[in-house]
């Protein structure tokens, strides 16, 4: 059984992909002379991974990492806290239509724009520094968490919700005893995952002035100080690895 059962459609798809790839490749002009020139720099960069320099800029690296980590935690906490009401509002089986549409609009806005674009906006609003980064990451977290939370609530079993409602529970009790237990494990898992994403993002929004290790990294790359860049990247990879290990452990414990 072929994957696309209609033979003509299959051929059209194959031909279309081929034509597109040729067209796309034609629109790229690679300056191979420049590439071969840059290759040396590339090799330098790879070589610097073998001898990363943690020492000579250790002060900047430490401050940047501390800022990134604190930004990550605060923005995730604020973002998750905000995404709970918005997620409840964006679940069709709980919220009335106007609330639903409003919450979905917030989610769509937050999800379409890359964190960098949001960061540019907030840096212009509240000035350079980690606060702009926290607001950016919190806003991005809301879009991510609220959407998944709303989908989870929409998939929740209706019989339990009916049962709690039948006991005469108030709205808050209904949410707390019928909805919350059903979505809590996934909410915790997703929050940890988002913590991970926020840390990785905090390493880039510094490029536009929103604080964190990104600014340090950007400076080091612009100065061709690759030994320091390599040290920063290795630290980022290590922290992501550690948090992935940790969150896998917590997720097992929660479920």
């Amino acid at each position: 059984m072929p994957f696309v059962s209609d033979r003509r459609l299959r051929w059209a798809l194959n031909a279309g992909v081929l034509i597109y790839l040729v067209l796309a490749w034609l629109s790229v002009d690679v300056n191979w002379a420049r590439v071969s020139e840059g290759m040396e720099r590339g090799l330098n960069f790879i070589a610097s991974f073998l001898q990363p320099d943690f020492v000579s800029r250790s002060g900047e690296i430490f401050l940047g990492l501390r800022e990134s980590l604190t930004m990550t935690l605060t923005s995730t906490v604020i973002g998750v806290a905000l995404s709970i009401p918005i997620g409840l509002g964006a679940a069709r089986n709980i919220a009335p239509l106007p609330v639903y549409l409003f919450c979905r609009l917030i989610i769509a806005l937050s999800r379409t724009f890359q964190e960098i674009i949001i960061a540019i906006f907030f840096v212009a609003m509240v000035g350079f520094g980690p606060l702009a980064g926290v607001i950016t990451l919190a806003f991005a977290t809301v879009g991510f968490m609220a959407k998944l939370l709303a989908e989870d609530i929409e998939d929740a079993r209706p019989d339990q919700m009916e049962a709690v409602r039948a006991t005469g529970a108030s709205w808050l009790q209904w949410i707390n005893y019928a909805v919350q237990p059903q979505v809590m494990p996934r909410l915790i898992g997703l929050s940890l995952y988002r913590l991970d994403i926020n840390f990785r993002e905090s390493a880039v929004i510094g490029i536009v002035g929103a604080g964190g290790i990104g600014a340090t990294l950007n400076t080091s790359i612009n100065r061709y100080d690759y030994d320091t860049s390599a040290a920063i990247l290795l630290l980022v990879i290590l922290i992501v690895l550690a948090s992935e290990y940790f969150s896998g452990y917590v997720r097992k414990w929660v479920q």
């Binding site: 994957f3 629109s27 790229v28 960069f45 604190t70 890359q114 990785r200 490029i207």
Partner: protein
């Protein structure tokens, strides 16, 4: 069932007292940690800037409305470039991630040592944002679309590789055994028992990553890696917020469209 009895009235509680205490303690520790972190942020913030944040935000939005539609025509080529960066980048990334995922999956890896190596590649690729890859590549291959495509490809390897190797590890062993029993070689087993089982996950993952990559490639221009981000950066530097708004609207439309396409394709294959 945790029941407490006071004055002959029995009250039901959701949790045992000890468990409840533990949960409260965890909340307390979390709150303290949050406050410490907030203190660090607050120390590094110039709060005076915040006084006119509302005014600044409103004036920014006022300057964005109405968007400057006159530049729409000149944005079409950068938009096409952005789409190309995302699509070709995804294709390259998937092409590299595909063999890598077979090396990483426990049930198809030829050697544990090779598995460790492939896993390292996947993790490093995942930990580093496409924008950082782009910054590095711009200094290596020079500014332009090519650097953007490579950056997207490098970032996609980790994502696609991880989801794909998990899919390979979750396949049913029976078809594999059946093909093996017929006397098939290693490559034949992969082609006739593993591949058909992971095909839906493969297409779904690739399309999902493509959709994410469209979003990512809109900002690669900020560091010189081509696409519509270049125009956005120029407009921001000129403080031409009307033009910035046009770019935002175009990005919004493109991302919504690609998300719709990706959702349709994924619904069709799963």
């Amino acid at each position: 069932m945790p029941l407490t009895e006071t004055n002959n009235t029995v009250a039901w509680q959701r949790r045992e007292p000890k468990q409840q205490l533990l949960i409260w303690a965890a909340w307390f520790v979390g709150l303290v940690l949050f406050l410490i972190c907030w203190k660090v942020i607050s120390d590094n913030t110039i709060w005076e800037f915040l006084e006119d944040a509302g005014v600044q935000g409103m004036s920014l939005i006022n300057r964005m409305i109405p968007p400057d539609w006159s530049i729409t025509g000149s944005l079409m080529r950068p938009l096409w470039d952005t789409l190309n960066i995302a699509t070709v980048g995804t294709a390259l990334g998937v092409a590299i991630a595909f063999p890598l995922s077979f090396l990483t999956a426990r049930n198809t890896t030829p050697h544990p040592l090779l598995r460790g190596l492939a896993l390292t590649v996947i993790v490093s690729s995942r930990s580093i944002n496409a924008l950082i890859w782009a910054m590095l590549l711009v200094t290596i291959v020079g500014p332009g679309i090519f650097a953007g495509m490579m950056a997207i490809a490098l970032r996609s390897i980790g994502f696609v590789g991880k989801l794909l190797y998990e899919a390979i590890e979750e396949i049913h062993p029976e078809p594999v055994e059946a093909i093996q029993a017929s006397g098939a070689g290693r490559a034949q087993v992969l082609a006739y028992s593993v591949w058909p089982q992971i095909l839906p996950a493969f297409v779904g993952t690739a399309v999902y990553r493509w959709d994410i990559n469209i979003r990512e490639s809109t900002v690669l221009g900020l560091v010189g890696a081509g696409g519509i981000g270049l125009q956005m950066n120029a407009a921001i530097n000129n403080l031409a917020w009307g033009q910035v708004a046009t770019v935002f609207v175009l990005i919004f439309a493109t991302v919504i469209l690609s998300e719709w396409v990706s959702a349709k394709v994924r619904a069709a294959v799963y």
